[in-house]
Protein backbone atom coordinates (compact mmCIF):
# COMPACT_ATOMS: atom_id res chain seq x y z
CA UNK A 1 0.00 0.00 0.00
CA UNK A 2 2.62 2.46 1.08
CA UNK A 3 4.99 1.28 -1.63
CA UNK A 4 3.46 3.69 -4.11
CA UNK A 5 4.20 6.79 -2.09
CA UNK A 6 7.10 8.53 -3.84
CA UNK A 7 10.29 9.08 -1.89
CA UNK A 8 10.33 12.61 -3.11
CA UNK A 9 7.81 14.67 -4.98
CA UNK A 10 7.96 18.25 -6.25
CA UNK A 11 4.57 19.93 -6.69
CA UNK A 12 4.31 23.05 -8.81
CA UNK A 13 7.74 24.21 -7.77
CA UNK A 14 8.87 27.63 -9.01
CA UNK A 15 12.12 29.42 -8.41
CA UNK A 16 13.04 32.99 -9.19
CA UNK A 17 16.48 34.53 -9.09
CA UNK A 18 16.20 38.31 -8.82
CA UNK A 19 12.93 38.37 -10.72
CA UNK A 20 14.07 35.93 -13.41
CA UNK A 21 12.11 32.67 -13.44
CA UNK A 22 14.51 29.76 -13.48
CA UNK A 23 11.73 27.23 -12.79
CA UNK A 24 7.98 27.55 -13.33
CA UNK A 25 5.42 25.17 -11.87
CA UNK A 26 7.60 22.09 -12.15
CA UNK A 27 6.26 18.80 -10.81
CA UNK A 28 7.91 15.40 -10.67
CA UNK A 29 8.14 12.37 -8.41
CA UNK A 30 10.46 9.46 -7.83
CA UNK A 31 9.61 6.22 -6.05
CA UNK A 32 11.86 3.56 -4.59
CA UNK A 33 13.58 1.41 -7.18
CA UNK A 34 12.87 3.86 -9.98
CA UNK A 35 15.18 5.86 -12.25
CA UNK A 36 13.93 9.26 -13.30
CA UNK A 37 15.91 10.89 -16.07
CA UNK A 38 15.95 14.65 -16.04
CA UNK A 39 16.73 16.01 -19.49
CA UNK A 40 17.06 19.44 -21.00
CA UNK A 41 19.33 21.89 -22.72
CA UNK A 42 21.83 24.10 -20.93
CA UNK A 43 20.06 26.66 -18.80
CA UNK A 44 16.82 24.66 -18.78
CA UNK A 45 16.76 24.62 -14.98
CA UNK A 46 17.94 21.08 -14.19
CA UNK A 47 20.61 22.11 -11.70
CA UNK A 48 18.25 24.58 -10.04
CA UNK A 49 15.68 21.83 -9.58
CA UNK A 50 18.08 19.36 -7.99
CA UNK A 51 19.48 22.09 -5.76
CA UNK A 52 15.96 22.58 -4.44
CA UNK A 53 15.53 18.82 -3.95
CA UNK A 54 18.83 18.58 -2.09
CA UNK A 55 18.29 21.56 0.20
CA UNK A 56 20.71 24.04 -1.40
CA UNK A 57 17.91 26.42 -2.48
CA UNK A 58 14.41 26.88 -1.09
CA UNK A 59 11.65 27.04 -3.72
CA UNK A 60 10.00 30.43 -4.31
CA UNK A 61 6.65 28.67 -4.42
CA UNK A 62 5.30 25.13 -4.57
CA UNK A 63 6.16 22.32 -2.21
CA UNK A 64 8.46 19.36 -1.72
CA UNK A 65 7.00 16.17 -0.28
CA UNK A 66 9.17 13.59 1.40
CA UNK A 67 7.44 10.21 1.73
CA UNK A 68 4.21 12.05 1.05
CA UNK A 69 4.70 14.59 3.83
CA UNK A 70 5.68 18.23 3.28
CA UNK A 71 9.39 18.77 3.85
CA UNK A 72 11.31 21.98 4.40
CA UNK A 73 15.03 21.58 3.88
CA UNK A 74 16.84 24.52 5.40
CA UNK A 75 20.28 23.31 4.37
CA UNK A 76 21.87 20.43 2.44
CA UNK A 77 22.44 18.59 5.70
CA UNK A 78 18.66 18.29 6.22
CA UNK A 79 18.27 16.64 2.84
CA UNK A 80 21.24 14.35 3.49
CA UNK A 81 19.79 13.30 6.81
CA UNK A 82 16.57 12.44 4.99
CA UNK A 83 18.57 10.06 2.77
CA UNK A 84 18.95 12.29 -0.29
CA UNK A 85 22.50 12.12 -1.64
CA UNK A 86 23.87 14.21 -4.47
CA UNK A 87 26.84 12.93 -6.43
CA UNK A 88 28.65 15.60 -8.37
CA UNK A 89 30.60 15.31 -11.56
CA UNK A 90 33.91 13.48 -10.97
CA UNK A 91 32.31 12.14 -7.81
CA UNK A 92 33.58 14.97 -5.61
CA UNK A 93 36.51 12.88 -4.45
CA UNK A 94 39.98 13.84 -3.18
CA UNK A 95 42.52 12.47 -5.69
CA UNK A 96 45.55 12.35 -3.39
CA UNK A 97 43.73 10.39 -0.68
CA UNK A 98 43.21 6.66 -0.66
CA UNK A 99 39.97 5.07 -1.79
CA UNK A 100 38.99 4.05 1.72
CA UNK A 101 39.87 7.43 3.22
CA UNK A 102 37.63 9.01 0.61
CA UNK A 103 34.92 6.46 1.21
CA UNK A 104 34.76 7.23 4.93
CA UNK A 105 35.51 10.95 4.74
CA UNK A 106 33.40 12.73 7.33
CA UNK A 107 32.31 9.41 8.89
CA UNK A 108 35.64 7.79 9.72
CA UNK A 109 35.84 4.54 11.68
CA UNK A 110 37.97 4.89 14.79
CA UNK A 111 39.39 2.65 17.48
CA UNK A 112 40.91 3.30 20.90
CA UNK A 113 40.08 5.81 23.63
CA UNK A 114 40.31 9.58 23.34
CA UNK A 115 43.88 10.74 23.53
CA UNK A 116 44.86 7.70 21.48
CA UNK A 117 41.75 7.49 19.34
CA UNK A 118 42.82 6.75 15.79
CA UNK A 119 41.58 5.68 12.40
CA UNK A 120 40.85 2.00 12.02
CA UNK A 121 42.42 1.87 8.57
CA UNK A 122 42.28 -1.90 8.35
CA UNK A 123 38.52 -1.99 8.83
CA UNK A 124 38.03 1.03 6.58
CA UNK A 125 40.07 -0.59 3.81
CA UNK A 126 38.17 -3.85 4.11
CA UNK A 127 34.66 -2.35 4.11
CA UNK A 128 35.39 0.09 1.29
CA UNK A 129 36.72 -2.71 -0.90
CA UNK A 130 33.80 -5.02 -0.11
CA UNK A 131 31.29 -2.30 -0.91
CA UNK A 132 32.87 -1.26 -4.18
CA UNK A 133 33.22 -4.83 -5.38
CA UNK A 134 29.65 -5.65 -4.37
CA UNK A 135 28.50 -2.98 -6.81
CA UNK A 136 30.32 -4.82 -9.56
CA UNK A 137 33.48 -2.73 -9.77
CA UNK A 138 35.82 -5.70 -9.60
CA UNK A 139 38.79 -4.03 -11.16
CA UNK A 140 39.51 -2.16 -7.95
CA UNK A 141 41.41 -4.62 -5.77
CA UNK A 142 43.23 -2.39 -3.30
CA UNK A 143 41.36 0.34 -1.46
CA UNK A 144 44.53 1.81 0.03
CA UNK A 145 45.68 3.29 -3.24
CA UNK A 146 45.01 6.94 -4.14
CA UNK A 147 41.73 7.83 -5.83
CA UNK A 148 43.83 9.72 -8.38
CA UNK A 149 44.77 6.34 -9.86
CA UNK A 150 41.10 5.57 -10.64
CA UNK A 151 39.35 6.33 -13.88
CA UNK A 152 36.48 8.82 -14.05
CA UNK A 153 33.89 6.04 -14.05
CA UNK A 154 35.49 4.31 -11.07
CA UNK A 155 35.42 7.61 -9.16
CA UNK A 156 31.70 7.96 -9.87
CA UNK A 157 31.27 4.38 -8.71
CA UNK A 158 33.12 5.16 -5.50
CA UNK A 159 30.90 8.17 -4.82
CA UNK A 160 27.69 6.25 -5.58
CA UNK A 161 28.81 3.36 -3.44
CA UNK A 162 29.67 5.67 -0.59
CA UNK A 163 26.25 7.36 -0.75
CA UNK A 164 24.36 4.06 -0.66
CA UNK A 165 26.52 2.67 2.14
CA UNK A 166 25.69 5.68 4.28
CA UNK A 167 21.98 5.11 3.84
CA UNK A 168 20.93 7.09 0.78
CA UNK A 169 17.38 6.27 -0.39
CA UNK A 170 17.46 8.73 -3.25
CA UNK A 171 20.54 9.34 -5.36
CA UNK A 172 20.81 12.48 -7.45
CA UNK A 173 23.46 12.14 -10.14
CA UNK A 174 24.35 15.37 -11.93
CA UNK A 175 25.70 14.55 -15.39
CA UNK A 176 27.63 11.47 -14.22
CA UNK A 177 28.42 10.29 -17.74
CA UNK A 178 29.17 13.55 -19.52
CA UNK A 179 32.94 13.47 -18.99
CA UNK A 180 33.28 9.75 -19.67
CA UNK A 181 34.14 7.59 -22.64
CA UNK A 182 31.64 5.06 -23.97
CA UNK A 183 32.82 2.11 -21.90
CA UNK A 184 33.20 4.11 -18.74
CA UNK A 185 29.71 5.52 -19.18
CA UNK A 186 28.38 1.99 -19.56
CA UNK A 187 30.01 1.05 -16.26
CA UNK A 188 28.26 3.91 -14.51
CA UNK A 189 24.89 3.09 -16.09
CA UNK A 190 25.22 -0.56 -14.99
CA UNK A 191 25.92 0.74 -11.53
CA UNK A 192 22.75 2.82 -11.62
CA UNK A 193 20.82 -0.32 -12.58
CA UNK A 194 22.39 -2.20 -9.67
CA UNK A 195 21.49 0.58 -7.27
CA UNK A 196 17.93 0.63 -8.56
CA UNK A 197 17.61 -3.11 -8.03
CA UNK A 198 18.36 -2.49 -4.37
CA UNK A 199 15.28 -0.31 -4.11
CA UNK A 200 16.99 3.05 -4.21
CA UNK A 201 15.41 5.89 -6.17
CA UNK A 202 17.60 7.69 -8.69
CA UNK A 203 17.38 11.04 -10.43
CA UNK A 204 19.79 11.00 -13.34
CA UNK A 205 20.60 14.25 -15.08
CA UNK A 206 22.02 13.88 -18.53
CA UNK A 207 22.43 15.49 -21.91
CA UNK A 208 22.64 12.14 -23.58
CA UNK A 209 19.26 10.87 -24.72
CA UNK A 210 20.67 7.41 -25.44
CA UNK A 211 22.06 7.03 -21.95
CA UNK A 212 18.71 8.15 -20.62
CA UNK A 213 16.70 5.75 -22.78
CA UNK A 214 18.89 2.82 -21.82
CA UNK A 215 18.25 3.11 -18.10
CA UNK A 216 15.29 5.42 -17.37
CA UNK A 217 11.88 4.36 -16.06
CA UNK A 218 10.43 7.85 -16.28
CA UNK A 219 11.56 10.95 -18.11
CA UNK A 220 11.07 14.63 -17.49
CA UNK A 221 12.27 17.10 -20.09
CA UNK A 222 12.79 20.67 -18.95
CA UNK A 223 12.94 23.67 -21.27
CA UNK A 224 13.21 27.27 -20.18
CA UNK A 225 12.25 26.34 -16.64
CA UNK A 226 9.08 24.46 -17.57
CA UNK A 227 8.27 20.79 -17.96
CA UNK A 228 8.21 20.30 -21.72
CA UNK A 229 7.39 16.62 -21.55
CA UNK A 230 6.88 13.95 -18.92
CA UNK A 231 6.53 10.34 -19.98
CA UNK A 232 7.38 6.75 -19.11
CA UNK A 233 9.66 4.16 -20.63
CA UNK A 234 8.56 3.05 -24.09
CA UNK A 235 6.28 5.99 -24.74
CA UNK A 236 8.72 7.90 -26.94
CA UNK A 237 11.62 7.08 -29.22
CA UNK A 238 15.16 8.35 -28.74
CA UNK A 239 14.77 10.61 -31.76
CA UNK A 240 11.67 12.19 -30.28
CA UNK A 241 13.47 12.75 -27.00
CA UNK A 242 16.41 14.42 -28.74
CA UNK A 243 13.94 16.68 -30.51
CA UNK A 244 12.22 17.57 -27.24
CA UNK A 245 15.50 18.35 -25.52
CA UNK A 246 16.63 20.72 -28.24
CA UNK A 247 13.26 22.43 -28.13
CA UNK A 248 11.61 20.51 -31.03
CA UNK A 249 10.41 23.44 -33.12
CA UNK A 250 13.82 25.06 -33.32
CA UNK A 251 15.38 21.80 -34.43
CA UNK A 252 12.82 21.39 -37.23
CA UNK A 253 13.51 24.91 -38.36
CA UNK A 254 17.21 24.16 -38.32
CA UNK A 255 16.71 21.03 -40.42
CA UNK A 256 14.76 23.03 -42.97
CA UNK A 257 17.52 25.60 -43.11
CA UNK A 258 20.15 22.93 -43.54
CA UNK A 259 18.15 21.42 -46.39
CA UNK A 260 18.91 24.51 -48.44
CA UNK A 261 22.63 23.93 -48.08
CA UNK A 262 22.53 20.32 -49.21
CA UNK A 263 22.55 20.76 -53.02
CA UNK A 264 25.34 23.30 -52.80
CA UNK A 265 27.47 21.06 -50.66
CA UNK A 266 27.12 18.23 -53.17
CA UNK A 267 27.84 20.30 -56.28
Amino acid sequence: MSTNIPIIEARNVSKEFAGIAALQEVSLKVSAGEVLCLLGDNGAGKSTLIKILSGVHAPSSGEILLDGKPAAFREPRDARNAGIATVHQYGGTVPLMSISRNFFLGAEIVKGRWPLRRLDLQTMNRIALEQIQSLGVRRVTDSSRPVGTLSGGQRQALAICRATYFGARLLILDEPTSALGVREATTVLKLVAEVRSRGIGVILITHNAHHAMSIGDHFVVLGHGKVVASFSRGEKSAAEVVGLMAGGVELQALELELEQFKPKAVS
Binding site: V94, M97, S98, R101, L105, G106, Q122, N125, D142, T149
Partner: protein, 348 residues
Protein backbone atom coordinates in the same frame (compact mmCIF):
# COMPACT_ATOMS: atom_id res chain seq x y z
CA UNK B 1 49.35 -5.52 -16.14
CA UNK B 2 47.15 -6.70 -13.34
CA UNK B 3 49.69 -7.07 -10.58
CA UNK B 4 48.62 -5.12 -7.52
CA UNK B 5 51.37 -2.51 -7.64
CA UNK B 6 51.59 -0.41 -4.51
CA UNK B 7 51.40 3.31 -4.93
CA UNK B 8 51.96 6.64 -3.12
CA UNK B 9 50.13 6.74 0.14
CA UNK B 10 49.17 3.21 0.72
CA UNK B 11 47.50 2.49 4.00
CA UNK B 12 47.66 -1.23 3.52
CA UNK B 13 48.96 -2.76 6.73
CA UNK B 14 50.82 -5.47 4.85
CA UNK B 15 51.97 -3.18 2.04
CA UNK B 16 54.34 -5.05 -0.18
CA UNK B 17 57.79 -3.55 0.01
CA UNK B 18 58.95 -3.06 -3.53
CA UNK B 19 61.54 -0.62 -4.76
CA UNK B 20 58.78 1.34 -6.41
CA UNK B 21 56.68 1.64 -3.27
CA UNK B 22 59.75 3.04 -1.54
CA UNK B 23 60.50 5.53 -4.28
CA UNK B 24 57.05 7.07 -4.33
CA UNK B 25 56.86 7.74 -0.60
CA UNK B 26 56.79 11.52 0.02
CA UNK B 27 59.73 11.16 2.43
CA UNK B 28 61.99 9.45 -0.07
CA UNK B 29 63.79 12.51 -1.46
CA UNK B 30 64.51 14.04 1.94
CA UNK B 31 65.86 10.79 3.41
CA UNK B 32 68.00 10.03 0.37
CA UNK B 33 69.19 13.65 0.31
CA UNK B 34 70.10 13.55 3.98
CA UNK B 35 72.15 10.40 3.49
CA UNK B 36 73.88 11.89 0.45
CA UNK B 37 74.70 15.19 2.14
CA UNK B 38 75.92 13.45 5.29
CA UNK B 39 78.16 11.22 3.20
CA UNK B 40 79.45 14.19 1.25
CA UNK B 41 80.44 16.19 4.32
CA UNK B 42 81.73 13.12 6.15
CA UNK B 43 84.03 12.18 3.27
CA UNK B 44 85.27 15.61 2.32
CA UNK B 45 85.21 17.48 5.62
CA UNK B 46 85.15 14.66 8.15
CA UNK B 47 88.76 15.18 9.15
CA UNK B 48 88.18 18.92 9.45
CA UNK B 49 85.61 18.25 12.16
CA UNK B 50 82.21 17.57 10.57
CA UNK B 51 81.97 14.24 12.36
CA UNK B 52 82.92 15.67 15.76
CA UNK B 53 80.41 15.63 18.60
CA UNK B 54 80.40 19.42 18.81
CA UNK B 55 79.55 19.67 15.14
CA UNK B 56 76.81 17.07 15.39
CA UNK B 57 75.33 18.97 18.33
CA UNK B 58 75.45 22.21 16.34
CA UNK B 59 73.67 21.00 13.26
CA UNK B 60 71.06 19.14 15.30
CA UNK B 61 70.38 22.37 17.19
CA UNK B 62 69.96 24.35 13.98
CA UNK B 63 67.77 21.62 12.53
CA UNK B 64 65.65 21.47 15.69
CA UNK B 65 64.76 25.18 15.70
CA UNK B 66 63.65 24.81 12.08
CA UNK B 67 62.01 21.41 12.48
CA UNK B 68 59.92 22.33 15.54
CA UNK B 69 58.07 24.92 13.46
CA UNK B 70 58.25 23.00 10.19
CA UNK B 71 56.23 20.07 11.61
CA UNK B 72 53.00 22.04 12.19
CA UNK B 73 53.75 24.06 9.05
CA UNK B 74 53.59 20.76 7.15
CA UNK B 75 50.07 20.15 8.45
CA UNK B 76 49.11 23.69 7.44
CA UNK B 77 50.57 23.19 3.95
CA UNK B 78 48.67 19.91 3.60
CA UNK B 79 45.50 21.82 4.53
CA UNK B 80 46.29 24.13 1.62
CA UNK B 81 47.50 27.22 3.48
CA UNK B 82 50.72 29.08 4.12
CA UNK B 83 52.20 31.07 7.02
CA UNK B 84 54.89 33.65 6.38
CA UNK B 85 54.60 35.23 9.81
CA UNK B 86 56.40 32.52 11.83
CA UNK B 87 59.76 34.33 11.97
CA UNK B 88 58.11 37.49 13.26
CA UNK B 89 56.12 35.39 15.73
CA UNK B 90 59.37 33.91 17.09
CA UNK B 91 60.64 37.46 17.67
CA UNK B 92 57.36 38.48 19.31
CA UNK B 93 57.57 35.44 21.57
CA UNK B 94 61.16 36.23 22.52
CA UNK B 95 60.39 39.83 23.44
CA UNK B 96 57.18 39.08 25.35
CA UNK B 97 58.73 36.25 27.33
CA UNK B 98 62.02 37.98 28.09
CA UNK B 99 60.17 41.17 29.05
CA UNK B 100 58.05 39.25 31.53
CA UNK B 101 61.07 37.46 33.00
CA UNK B 102 63.64 40.29 33.01
CA UNK B 103 61.54 43.44 33.51
CA UNK B 104 58.41 42.12 35.19
CA UNK B 105 60.24 39.52 37.25
CA UNK B 106 57.83 36.69 36.45
CA UNK B 107 58.85 33.07 36.99
CA UNK B 108 59.38 31.00 33.85
CA UNK B 109 56.11 29.04 33.94
CA UNK B 110 53.64 31.96 33.94
CA UNK B 111 55.86 33.90 31.52
CA UNK B 112 55.80 30.98 29.09
CA UNK B 113 52.04 30.49 29.48
CA UNK B 114 51.42 34.18 28.82
CA UNK B 115 53.59 33.96 25.71
CA UNK B 116 51.66 30.93 24.51
CA UNK B 117 48.46 32.92 24.93
CA UNK B 118 49.95 35.69 22.78
CA UNK B 119 50.81 33.02 20.21
CA UNK B 120 47.26 31.69 20.26
CA UNK B 121 46.10 35.24 19.59
CA UNK B 122 48.48 35.64 16.65
CA UNK B 123 47.57 32.24 15.20
CA UNK B 124 43.85 32.84 15.61
CA UNK B 125 44.19 36.25 13.96
CA UNK B 126 46.10 34.81 11.00
CA UNK B 127 43.62 31.99 10.60
CA UNK B 128 40.58 34.19 11.01
CA UNK B 129 41.82 36.69 8.42
CA UNK B 130 42.61 33.90 5.96
CA UNK B 131 39.26 32.12 6.22
CA UNK B 132 37.16 35.29 6.37
CA UNK B 133 38.78 37.22 3.53
CA UNK B 134 39.32 34.06 1.43
CA UNK B 135 42.41 35.84 0.09
CA UNK B 136 45.60 33.85 -0.50
CA UNK B 137 47.21 33.12 2.86
CA UNK B 138 50.53 34.04 1.28
CA UNK B 139 49.43 37.71 1.13
CA UNK B 140 47.56 37.76 4.44
CA UNK B 141 50.48 36.36 6.42
CA UNK B 142 52.98 38.52 4.52
CA UNK B 143 50.99 41.46 5.91
CA UNK B 144 50.96 40.04 9.43
CA UNK B 145 54.70 39.33 9.12
CA UNK B 146 55.32 43.07 8.60
CA UNK B 147 52.79 44.10 11.23
CA UNK B 148 54.20 41.80 13.92
CA UNK B 149 57.87 42.37 13.13
CA UNK B 150 57.42 46.15 13.02
CA UNK B 151 55.36 46.20 16.21
CA UNK B 152 57.90 44.10 18.10
CA UNK B 153 60.75 46.38 17.03
CA UNK B 154 58.74 49.55 17.66
CA UNK B 155 57.48 48.58 21.09
CA UNK B 156 60.90 47.49 22.26
CA UNK B 157 62.42 50.74 20.98
CA UNK B 158 59.91 52.68 23.07
CA UNK B 159 60.59 50.45 26.05
CA UNK B 160 64.37 50.44 26.27
CA UNK B 161 65.59 52.25 23.18
CA UNK B 162 67.16 49.00 22.02
CA UNK B 163 66.27 45.92 19.98
CA UNK B 164 67.27 43.31 22.54
CA UNK B 165 66.52 42.35 26.13
CA UNK B 166 69.62 40.90 27.80
CA UNK B 167 70.19 38.82 30.88
CA UNK B 168 67.30 36.39 30.56
CA UNK B 169 69.15 33.54 32.25
CA UNK B 170 70.30 35.44 35.31
CA UNK B 171 66.81 36.92 35.71
CA UNK B 172 65.31 33.43 35.63
CA UNK B 173 67.85 32.36 38.27
CA UNK B 174 67.55 28.79 39.45
CA UNK B 175 64.08 28.24 37.94
CA UNK B 176 64.04 24.50 37.20
CA UNK B 177 61.87 25.03 34.12
CA UNK B 178 64.79 26.64 32.29
CA UNK B 179 65.99 23.09 31.71
CA UNK B 180 62.95 22.42 29.52
CA UNK B 181 64.20 24.94 26.99
CA UNK B 182 67.98 25.01 27.19
CA UNK B 183 68.89 21.88 29.14
CA UNK B 184 71.10 19.08 27.89
CA UNK B 185 70.16 15.46 27.34
CA UNK B 186 73.44 13.64 27.27
CA UNK B 187 75.61 15.50 24.79
CA UNK B 188 72.63 17.07 22.98
CA UNK B 189 70.42 20.04 23.77
CA UNK B 190 66.86 19.37 24.84
CA UNK B 191 65.52 21.07 21.70
CA UNK B 192 66.33 17.81 19.91
CA UNK B 193 63.76 16.03 22.10
CA UNK B 194 61.13 18.70 21.40
CA UNK B 195 61.80 18.34 17.68
CA UNK B 196 61.44 14.54 17.72
CA UNK B 197 58.33 14.58 19.92
CA UNK B 198 56.59 17.29 17.89
CA UNK B 199 57.45 15.55 14.62
CA UNK B 200 56.08 12.27 15.96
CA UNK B 201 52.92 13.97 17.15
CA UNK B 202 52.37 15.76 13.83
CA UNK B 203 52.96 12.55 11.88
CA UNK B 204 50.54 10.63 14.07
CA UNK B 205 47.85 13.29 13.86
CA UNK B 206 48.15 13.57 10.09
CA UNK B 207 48.35 9.90 9.20
CA UNK B 208 46.35 8.20 11.91
CA UNK B 209 43.59 10.45 13.23
CA UNK B 210 40.24 11.71 12.01
CA UNK B 211 41.56 15.26 12.24
CA UNK B 212 44.45 14.32 9.95
CA UNK B 213 42.11 12.72 7.44
CA UNK B 214 40.20 15.99 7.33
CA UNK B 215 43.41 18.01 6.92
CA UNK B 216 44.21 15.95 3.81
CA UNK B 217 40.68 16.44 2.46
CA UNK B 218 40.65 20.19 3.14
CA UNK B 219 43.81 20.73 1.14
CA UNK B 220 43.09 18.06 -1.46
CA UNK B 221 39.58 19.15 -2.47
CA UNK B 222 38.08 21.82 -0.27
CA UNK B 223 34.69 21.82 -1.97
CA UNK B 224 34.32 18.08 -1.42
CA UNK B 225 35.47 18.45 2.19
CA UNK B 226 32.85 21.11 2.86
CA UNK B 227 30.17 18.93 1.29
CA UNK B 228 30.92 16.07 3.64
CA UNK B 229 30.39 18.46 6.56
CA UNK B 230 34.01 19.14 7.49
CA UNK B 231 34.41 22.52 9.18
CA UNK B 232 37.37 23.66 7.12
CA UNK B 233 37.51 27.17 8.59
CA UNK B 234 37.79 25.90 12.15
CA UNK B 235 40.37 23.32 11.09
CA UNK B 236 42.55 25.96 9.45
CA UNK B 237 42.37 28.34 12.41
CA UNK B 238 43.43 25.48 14.71
CA UNK B 239 46.44 24.78 12.50
CA UNK B 240 47.47 28.45 12.46
CA UNK B 241 47.33 28.40 16.25
CA UNK B 242 49.49 25.26 16.37
CA UNK B 243 52.04 26.91 14.09
CA UNK B 244 52.22 30.07 16.21
CA UNK B 245 52.53 27.97 19.38
CA UNK B 246 55.47 26.09 17.88
CA UNK B 247 57.07 29.46 17.02
CA UNK B 248 56.96 30.64 20.65
CA UNK B 249 58.40 27.32 21.81
CA UNK B 250 61.39 28.11 19.59
CA UNK B 251 61.39 31.63 21.05
CA UNK B 252 61.66 30.17 24.56
CA UNK B 253 64.49 27.86 23.47
CA UNK B 254 66.29 30.82 21.90
CA UNK B 255 66.13 33.23 24.84
CA UNK B 256 67.54 30.70 27.29
CA UNK B 257 70.16 29.38 24.89
CA UNK B 258 71.36 32.81 23.77
CA UNK B 259 70.49 34.54 27.07
CA UNK B 260 68.73 37.28 25.16
CA UNK B 261 65.42 38.20 23.55
CA UNK B 262 65.90 39.80 20.15
CA UNK B 263 63.37 41.77 18.08
CA UNK B 264 65.36 40.87 14.96
CA UNK B 265 65.44 37.15 15.70
CA UNK B 266 64.50 34.49 13.13
CA UNK B 267 64.42 36.76 10.09
CA UNK B 268 63.77 34.54 7.09
CA UNK B 269 62.75 31.55 9.23
CA UNK B 270 59.42 31.43 7.33
CA UNK B 271 61.31 30.36 4.20
CA UNK B 272 63.55 27.92 6.02
CA UNK B 273 60.61 26.00 7.45
CA UNK B 274 58.82 25.88 4.11
CA UNK B 275 62.07 24.72 2.47
CA UNK B 276 62.28 21.87 4.97
CA UNK B 277 58.64 20.91 4.37
CA UNK B 278 58.95 21.03 0.59
CA UNK B 279 62.18 19.04 0.53
CA UNK B 280 60.27 16.63 2.76
CA UNK B 281 57.64 16.12 0.09
CA UNK B 282 54.92 18.66 0.93
CA UNK B 283 52.99 20.17 -1.93
CA UNK B 284 52.47 23.95 -1.82
CA UNK B 285 49.08 23.50 -3.43
CA UNK B 286 47.89 21.36 -0.53
CA UNK B 287 46.70 17.82 0.00
CA UNK B 288 50.09 16.17 0.26
CA UNK B 289 52.96 16.19 2.74
CA UNK B 290 54.73 14.25 5.46
CA UNK B 291 56.02 15.41 8.87
CA UNK B 292 58.62 12.61 8.72
CA UNK B 293 59.81 13.93 5.36
CA UNK B 294 59.90 17.43 6.85
CA UNK B 295 62.02 16.13 9.73
CA UNK B 296 64.66 15.03 7.25
CA UNK B 297 64.23 18.25 5.30
CA UNK B 298 65.13 20.19 8.46
CA UNK B 299 68.01 17.84 9.25
CA UNK B 300 69.35 18.32 5.74
CA UNK B 301 69.08 22.08 6.15
CA UNK B 302 70.98 21.97 9.45
CA UNK B 303 73.76 19.79 8.04
CA UNK B 304 74.29 21.99 5.01
CA UNK B 305 74.09 25.16 7.09
CA UNK B 306 76.79 23.98 9.50
CA UNK B 307 78.79 21.69 7.21
CA UNK B 308 79.27 24.42 4.67
CA UNK B 309 81.64 26.09 7.09
CA UNK B 310 84.18 23.32 6.45
CA UNK B 311 84.15 23.51 2.69
CA UNK B 312 86.75 25.67 0.92
CA UNK B 313 83.93 27.83 -0.45
CA UNK B 314 83.23 31.13 1.36
CA UNK B 315 80.03 30.71 3.34
CA UNK B 316 78.22 33.31 1.24
CA UNK B 317 77.70 30.48 -1.27
CA UNK B 318 75.52 28.64 1.21
CA UNK B 319 72.27 30.06 -0.17
CA UNK B 320 73.16 29.12 -3.74
CA UNK B 321 73.89 25.59 -2.64
CA UNK B 322 70.62 25.45 -0.73
CA UNK B 323 68.73 26.80 -3.72
CA UNK B 324 70.04 24.04 -5.95
CA UNK B 325 69.13 21.41 -3.38
CA UNK B 326 65.60 22.76 -3.13
CA UNK B 327 65.28 22.77 -6.89
CA UNK B 328 66.49 19.18 -7.22
CA UNK B 329 64.21 18.08 -4.41
CA UNK B 330 61.05 19.59 -5.85
CA UNK B 331 61.76 18.17 -9.29
CA UNK B 332 62.22 14.68 -7.85
CA UNK B 333 59.19 15.03 -5.59
CA UNK B 334 57.05 16.21 -8.46
CA UNK B 335 58.13 13.24 -10.54
CA UNK B 336 57.51 10.64 -7.84
CA UNK B 337 54.11 12.06 -6.98
CA UNK B 338 52.99 11.95 -10.58
CA UNK B 339 54.25 8.39 -10.78
CA UNK B 340 52.20 7.54 -7.70
CA UNK B 341 49.05 8.92 -9.28
CA UNK B 342 49.34 7.19 -12.64
CA UNK B 343 46.15 5.25 -13.28
CA UNK B 344 46.81 1.55 -13.11
CA UNK B 345 44.86 -1.64 -13.39
CA UNK B 346 42.09 0.25 -15.15
CA UNK B 347 43.67 0.27 -18.57
CA UNK B 348 42.88 -3.26 -19.75
Amino acid sequence: MNSPVQSGRTDAPEARVSLRSLLVRPEFTAIAGTIAVFAFFAIFTGDAGFLSMAMTRNYLEVAATIGIIAAPITLLLVAGEFDLSVGATVAAGEIVMSYLIVYAGWPVAPAFLATVIVAIGIGALNGYLVVKTKLPSFIITLATLFIIRGAVQGILRMLNGNSVIDGVRSAAGEDPLVWLFSGMVGPFSVSLIWWIVITGLAAWVLESTVFGNRIFATGGNQAAAVRTGIQVDRLKIMLYIAVAASAVLVAAINIFTINQGNANSAVGREFEVVTAAVIGGALLTGGYGSPIGTFFGALLFGMVDQGFFFTPLPDVWFLTFLGFMLLIAVVINNYTRNAALKPRGSSQ
